[in-house]
Amino acid sequence: MEFYIVTNQPIIADKIEKLKNNTHVLDPSDFRRKVKESSRNEIFYLDIEAFKNDWEKEFKYAQKNDKVFLALIDLQGKVKDIGTYIYKGIVDYIGKDNGVNDFSKRRFIDVENYLENYRCDYFLADEEDELEPGAYKIAEKGWATIRSDEEYTFYIMYVELDDKKEMEKSFAKSNLKLAIDSFKRFVEQNVARFEGKLWIWQGFGGVVLFPFNGHDCPAALSGFRMAIYKHLHDVEESLFPHFISYRMAIHLGNVLYQEENTGNVIADTINSVFHLGSKYAEPGEFYMTDDTYRFIHPKIKPYFKASGEFEGRNIWRMRRPIIGAFRS
């Protein structure tokens, strides 16, 4: 945990410089840049004198980055209602009474303890960012740097049409192939815009790989989008005469990538996602493991519900979009 004291007051800067370790003085002109770059837990103490009348604007700006925690330095006692800022999530307040004497190593340890014990957003943020050393094998520039016969960490998406047996009975082989191909194209087009690549296709479904970059989950966005756009695909592009149903499941894990994939890949992570998709998943639903859920965009989290456990992992299911019905 790094602490940045955003000030241009020598009295504060001097005090901080004596503390050393993980505390830094940051010039107010660098504040926004630093906040924008911040991708792991950092705490910014805003000296309201440093920004004059604009400090609230800077405060609001910093709030947009949910990895950043804020504290206030108010040596003149100008903040009228500190409670307002507590509700806005500040982690500390250095006021008029003790002034710069409040700055101490002990103080910062107390702030860290407070975050660890009382703040669920700190706990989650920390869990997201703290990758176990060596656990993830990240391809720095995604597909551009991925080479065959090397292991990488991917989001692995399983997708398969439901009702296979009924379709095989109802359709002539050639027509069925054309219809399945229309679904395969739908999958390919939708995953491609999120850097996904259809890696295996067998029969009624397949596996898509999305390179893992250490912090995002494009696979979830892709699946989310596919689930919502499904009804438009049914109407316009699908060659099936009926509304199709398909299951999706996403898991995060390491895979030995092979360019020339024969469909005979044997890997724990691939098996896991196949089991999740074929044994656990209900028709028409979209699931992900907890490992994946940790990294999904916070804005789509409300659209997923806890769905129980499977093979020792917590599973999340996407809430079903309901098209054409209205809430009463």
Binding site: L232, V235, F243, H297, I300, R319, P321, I322, I323, F326
Partner: protein, 306 residues
């Protein structure tokens, strides 16, 4: 439409080398019923007209009336069907079509008309509609919910940016399906569809817009409350004008009523005429809702399992 000298010469050459003067006149009369080549050229009717001169005059008249597209469409028909049972090999048609493609117009075999393809070439009337004539259109009306409140609550630059995004999304989906935006008022507008399957294209356009706006609100929109819209689709006759006009007619009045009175925020409502044209699969996404005097409308909205 500005016609190049190259295209003009090609058209003249095509007529002059493919047909006799009599056949040229018959072709011109497919477009202009009472076309009189003698009256147009001023040459007395007892003096034979040279092929080149006749072709020159006809093409000059066509260009003057800005009917080149219609005339080439006629030439294509003549090529396919002949005149009075007589096959006509209309020369230089591929070259003429290539010149028109350069101008952003492509001939659609399916529709039997030229369609604008280039973004620069998008016109209100698809380059084929005539001023003040009445045609059957399908319209989409889109409107931002609580626009006044949004403008009051948010900074001007933020609202401008959001409204630009909103227009960009709507325009993209309208033009993707060969519709045209006729009016835009900042907080909403009107799009028209005229070509083949216009009801279906308008409805799919509106559905795609709503889904895309859902994603915009979720991932990008800087407004705390998001941007809510209402959309309605209705079809009917309307007079066409090339320039922006405050067109008022029964079709557009009914459309406005459907949108403002019968549509929920982030919902789409269809009139019965449009709904009846949708076909089995698409119909299933709409719910029948009774409105006044025993009438119904059909509503679509994206909702979520609790």
């Amino acid at each position: 439409m500005k016609i190049s000298r190259a295209l003009t010469n090609l058209l003249i050459k095509s007529l002059a080398e493919s047909m006799t003067v009599q056949l040229m006149i018959k072709t011109a009369r497919l477009l202009y019923r009472d076309y009189d080549i003698y009256k147009q050229t001023g040459i007395p009717s007892n003096i034979p007209i040279q092929r080149r001169d006749a072709a020159n005059q006809i093409i000059r008249d066509v260009i003057e009336k800005d009917h080149v597209i219609q005339f080439v469409t006629t030439l294509i028909d003549v090529y396919k069907k002949g005149i009075m049972g007589r096959p006509i090999n209309v020369r230089f048609l591929p070259q003429i079509l290539a010149e028109l493609k350069e101008l952003g117009l492509v001939y659609s075999e399916k529709e039997g008309i030229f369609i604008e393809t280039s973004q620069d070439q998008v016109t209100r009337g698809w380059s084929i509609l005539e001023e003040a004539k009445i045609y059957d259109f399908t319209f989409i009306r889109i409107d931002i919910v609580d626009n006044t409140k949004l403008v009051r609550k948010n900074k001007k630059n933020v609202i401008e940016s959001v409204y630009n995004d909103f227009k960009r999304i709507f325009k993209f989906y309208v033009e993707k399906r060969n519709g045209r935006i006729w009016t835009w008022e900042g907080d909403g507008g009107l799009a028209a569809f005229y070509l083949h399957d216009k009801n279906l294209e308008a409805v799919l356009c509106a559905m795609e817009c709503l889904v895309e706006l859902f994603f915009y609100n979720l991932m990008q929109c800087p407004l705390k409350e998001g941007l809510d819209v209402r959309m309605a689709v209705h079809a009917g006759p309307c007079q066409f004008f090339n320039h922006s006009q405050d067109i008022k007619n029964e079709t557009l009045r009914r459309l406005e009523q459907i949108e403002s009175k019968f549509t929920e925020p982030n919902g789409l409502t269809l009139s019965p005429g449009v709904y009846s044209d949708l076909g089995g699969k698409l119909e299933k996404f709409f719910v029948q809702v009774p409105v006044e005097k025993g009438n119904f409308v059909y509503q679509y909205k994206l909702c979520w399992e609790e």
